[in-house]
Amino acid sequence: MKMLIAASAALLTFTFAGAVQAFCGFYVARADADLFNEASQVVLVRDGDRTVITMANDFEGDVEDFAMVIPVPTFIERGQINVAERSVIEHLDAYTAPRLVEYFDPDPCQRFDYDELRRQNGPPFPLAVAEDAAAKARSRGVTIEASYAVGEYDILILSAEQSDGLVAWLRENGYRIPDGADKVVASYLKRNMRFFVAKVNLEAQAKSGYSYLRPIQVAYESKKFMLPIRLGTLNAKGQQELYVYALTRSGRVETTNYRTVKLPSNLDVPVFVKDEFGDFYRSMFERQTAANGNRAVFLEYAWDMAWCDPCAADPLSADELRKLGVFWVGADNRNVRPAQAQDVFVTRLHVRYDQRHFPEDLIFQETGDRQNFQGRYVVRHPFAGKASCDIGDYEQALRERQSREAEQLANLTGWAIDDIRAKIDFAGGEPPAAEEPWWKRLWN
């Protein structure tokens, strides 16, 4: 039996026993989408009613078992479906990822302004660092309106009068559909949404030479600026991870029916986080999700595509943007330097969703907000050189700073403060003594 990866625009990943999801470990200084298991990535390009959606998945099972059912707001023709390069999405992911930056304390003997040291917040140094089938379909009230071969995919455009007909047709054709899908499909059909099925054409896939499945792109025009996630919440696997990269002209994108919350940012964390940035980011995200009642969509990055500071990766080139469907960027403008204005604003949203907390599809709006925001965390390395003077004051200030960083980290991640303190290499070898309560010496 084939497995169905139903992708409702938001990659409704129905995973079943045996479907292995990619987990590639983590980068040292960047929190990419790879950090989370079973993360779907969707790029939404939108200007006016024109939308180009690119859906990437990390399916690693037998491609023969792969299929996606994608609801789309309008009828789709052959020319509206495309296959994209995964590398472009990886680049976009890297460019927008939350980042760790590091500073090095200057020689305290050359600069005695400790208050300034504590306050300093200068420019950071980046670390990165067929006929029978048709007849059968018709008997189910399902019309295969068209079938196309696009890249390694066979695409079937379906129109159905009844959801049970569509679901029954999918089941008859070997797709395993979770319980409850009928109702969701019926709801979409009543709202005039269309569905298409993408299956892997094994021959084409072998010829393509790719060992993975490339993202599918769809271009359409619709008033609906939304991402259907409901089919994806049907499987019993619990919470799912989704990244939405919105590329727009005017400004930041946010959800109108869920809270969009900025992830805590620009915070100093202990130096050891440099080696555990992935763990740090996961724990922080988990804690923030829980703190917001599991109902928030998190903003991780909002920036003008023309630049970055610090850069986790270079901004995307005009060519790359064009590949993602940014139709207003000149196609033949090959000489556009990344530093030049691209007229593209990127928003990275990260959401962990399930049926209970996200009963409705995500609905978006483009705002006029062009203020830059990034997930940025800072490690400050103590001065490691040989001191030519008495640095007692510097060490005292440093210990206090390290203590504050430990508390901040505990608050952000929920990690035990004692475990954190044990990992910190406190100045002078000793953590600062806990402050004595004010009443201790009151009567002594």
């Binding site: 109108t256 809270r259 109902r295 709006q365 705002t367 006029g368 907000d369």
Partner: protein, 285 residues
């Protein structure tokens, strides 16, 4: 000595101001609204200034800071912009509409609503963040209670209740027709911006019909148009846009459904309070 406490207990606007200020503090402190204090100051300052200037120009007796303050607080809570001049312009539009767009001695549009929608459609730098409030049931409950407290003071709860009930009915009916779980309409109703709209904007007694039957009709009409915008046209902010579209119908409703014109401070025994009566003219805008 008892003048101020009596006035406070009679005029529902004091309650509205207290509640809107609380909401603003909660939004800024807990929900991280992204409201900048300079913007709040610009909106409030401009609204009060415009009201004073208009009052003087038209020769109105006394200066009434309460109504412009309510409009300013509503705007601060709902309007999002990064531009200080847009914030000030919003306040100017709100108060200006109150004095300039009048039919039968009543202003046509709710001032905050007029400014919000006008800027949303004419400036790229102004937007409305309806999802910012979150959807916790507790929050919804708190809002509803607070709002009702205000309405009970204003004795004009029909518009809000008719709107909320009609809107809820439409959302639930749609869910039943689509076969959606009821958690969807419930989620749609537990929205802070929606409740703020229902209990603090559409409820404005100065811009709703004079008769109780007219207000029920009006509330239900706004709910229908809001659903049409949300689900027919697939546009966000249905209720806010519906209100500005329906507001010009109020004089028409007033013509067929006769009722007593609402006057601030009348929500008690105004006729017995001569000092309040003197201010009547000044506070009727």
């Amino acid at each position: 000595m008892t003048g101020l406490p009596r006035r406070v207990s009679r005029d529902p606007r004091y309650y509205q101001i207290a509640i809107l200020s609380t909401l603003l503090c909660y939004g800024v402190a807990v929900l991280d609204f992204g409201v900048q204090w300079q913007h709040a100051a610009a909106i409030i300052g401009t609204a009060l200034g415009a009201q004073w200037l208009a009052g003087r120009t038209l020769g109105l007796a006394g200066f009434d800071p309460l109504s412009p303050l309510i409009s300013a607080l509503s705007l601060t809570l709902l309007l999002r912009t990064n531009s200080l001049s847009i914030a000030a312009l919003a306040a100017l539009l709100a108060i200006g509409s109150k004095f300039l767009l009048r039919v039968n001695g009543k202003h046509v549009f709710n001032p905050a609503n007029f400014a919000l929608v006008t800027l949303m459609f004419t400036s790229e730098q102004a937007w409305l963040s309806s999802g910012q409030w979150g959807n916790t049931a507790l929050l919804a409950f708190g809002f509803a209670c607070l709002g009702l407290a205000v309405l009970n003071r204003a004795r004009r709860a029909e518009t809000s209740l008719a709107f909320i009930m009609a809107f809820a009915l439409l959302l639930f009916s749609r869910a039943v027709w689509l076969g959606d779980p009821l958690s969807i309409p419930l989620h749609q109703l537990q929205n802070g911006a929606l409740l703020l709209f229902a209990f603090f904007m559409i409820s404005d007694p100065k811009t709703s019909p004079d008769a109780a039957s007219g207000r029920v009709l009006y509330g239900a009409l706004v709910a229908c148009v809001a659903c049409l915008i949300l689900f027919g046209l697939n546009q966000p902010h249905g209720p806010v846009i519906a209100l500005i579209l329906c507001a010009p119908l109020v004089p028409l409703i007033d013509r067929y459904a006769n009722g007593r014109r609402y006057v601030w401070r009348a929500a008690g025994s105004l006729s017995r309070d001569s000092s309040a009566a003197k201010l009547k003219q000044g506070t009727s805008v």
